[in-house]
Amino acid sequence: MESYETHEHDVLVIGAGGAGLRAAIEAASQGVSVGVVCKSLLGKAHTVMAEGGVAAAMANVDKSDNWQTHFKDTMAGGKMLNNWRMAQIHAQQAPDRIHELEQWGALFDRTPTGDILQRAFGGHTCKRLCHVGDRTGLELIRTLQDRVVQIGMPVYMECTATHLFKDGGRIAGVLAYWRETGKFVLYKAKAIILATGGTGKAFVITSNSWEYTGDGFGMAYQAGAQLMDMEFVQFHPTGMVWPPGVRGILVTEAVRGEGGQLKNSKGERFMERYDPKRMELSTRDQVARAIYTEVKEGRGSPHGGVFLSVTHLNAEAVKKKLPSMYHQLKDFADVDITKEPMEVGPTTHYIMGGIRVEAETTASTVPGLYAAGETAAGMHGANRLGGNSLSDLLVFGRLSGHHAAQFAKQNSGAVKINEDEVRRAAQEVLAPFDRTSGPTPYELHEKLQEFMQAKVGIMRIESDIKEALVEIQDLKKKLTTVRVSGSRMFNPGWHLAYDLKNLLTSAEAIARAALMRQESRGAHTRLDHPKTDPEWGKVNHVISKDGDAMKVAQSPLPQMPDELKKLFEETK
């Protein structure tokens, strides 16, 4: 094979979003050598797009808030399918992680008394979301990025990881290619943290970027790690529906947090019929289903959504609190949100499922392989509450950095990577260049997005999911004939050709788990099994590679200790 460069680190972090950067900072603080690999430029990961806020029970606004309440809200939002220990650690540690960001230069919006201001969000019973207007993710990623630059560690930007390698049972490294040149690079590492985010690009209508092709899921699965809860894909209730070019782009939940109202074409605040108590601030799964139903029953807006309105609020306050929404709607949709309602509808936003990890350490089932952020499963159960992702990145990013560094120290012997495996992996990535006929990656991608949206989307039924699985098998075959043209230099067509493999693994995992779960719970709605069934609430679906086939098994949900169970009884 052609020559390739090699780098060696104790801990390699794949992904430079909030989770990856927080992990890298922590690992470096343990005195080990750390490198970060990411597909885009530093500072452009998904985290930069997060708008509404980061959840932490600081009790600055609602004095009654505490970790127990945050924990309860998170579990209730997740329909009790969350890993209780992750939800507990998250609720307990989030406030410290926010204070730490301030010490690194972050500037959150303030209360009149000089504390961090917190806003209301769906499913949170207290005002809990720390924010910076509606650009919270930018503040978070820039603060972490500055910190990483200050510590000084190599960040390998625009470099796509493709295959994980093991030495015996443990993780040993990863193959990647530079997007700029198409040349390969091998990273050897004693521990690897996957912080690669989700897989929204398996669907047509999504708030996610080209990066979200489920690479972490695909690589971990191939390396023998387990995936969990993949049936739970969050459809955010309020994406833009018009004009077509921005269909799916997010309208932050902060719009509702600040008092925005949802109305149908008859002018009714329809949430009254679905969740009269919480109304617009119900959980995302419920609001998304409500909007879907309104549209389906003929009470939708002209472009197939519903109306979201802040016209009853003070115009100046709207511009101050939601500046980027004000501009987004004005620039893209010619809508002045202080004067007219927006048109919104559900958009694929987040995946609760992911790599199965240990709660305390974020370790996957492969020794030396860790996962944090959207790519890890467990924390959010069947439905994630808004704002709980950014806090998840900080809390579990830090833990993964800590434990990966510990693992690297305790297993400090040199790791070996089999040359043959590297060669085979490189060949697989390059294969589409050898073909002169066959479908283009764009065609295959479009097909996948269409049937996933239609058949494994917000409302599911057995026959549809089965059809999708047939189509997935068909696309897998076609992928072996996919053709790309041009050179290896910055070639998006070629990049997509390889991304499709991970997209298909993710799509198959989503579909198989969705088929298996014969109930409706959180973000997973089965038209043929509309009720939530307590029996199904006792199991997670665990996916692993079994030869060439994908295996789905049931695993009993870890049991909460009595003192935590009591928290739920007290409120009954």
Binding site: G43, V48, M49, E139, V149, S209, W242, Y442
Partner: protein, 243 residues
Amino acid sequence: MSEMVIRVSHGTTEKMEEKTYKVPVGPGMVVLDAIHYIQSHFAPDLAVRWNCKAAKCGSCSAEVNGKPKLMCKSRMDAYDQNEELVVHPIKTFPRIKDLVTDVSWNYRVNKTITPFTPPKGNFGKMYQADMDRVQEFRKCIECFLCQSVCHVLRNHEKHEEFAGPRFFVRIASLEMHPLDEASRIKFLKEEGGLGYCNITKCCSEVCPEDIHITDNAIIPLKERVVDEYYDPVQKIFRIFSGK
């Protein structure tokens, strides 16, 4: 649906050519949509950076009809439908391929700036009035459009001696941070080359985040440099007031 002709610059620094494409134009369509259409229908290897498609990440900078713009924020209907639309990579940085340029220089400059330096220990309360100004600077999405348009870099190529408006904004965000204790005034005068800026305001005009780069960042920084180097009274005042 109407059609528009788009001329896109392809190639590398060594070899470049322009190609024209006919693209259907729908309501609300932006230039980045047109580029994606060209990718999936005519030129699958056309290189372009993008992420958010909502003017939040600063990836999709290019020159549309000669003006530095975010492609995801540039509506097709803002241009004359009967004229060719010309899309080039941003000019001030070397091209890698097609619309993708090598912006690594910016990341190198960033590393030379003294990082945030807070006092030791807990710092208690902070008030909104003290951070409004800095929050404006922290809106920067690092699109580098201001770097691309500034004549000191674009025409005079002073990359070695001039940090550029993006980094004056960053330095302003640190210098005016209510908790920061370091001084970057010497850097501004020397390595940063703030003196090269003659306040043309071109940077402020292109900023998609509407940051008043010149008025709110550069001019106050210039004043600080003057105070530090040329005005002993101000300097003593500053020593006693702690900043």
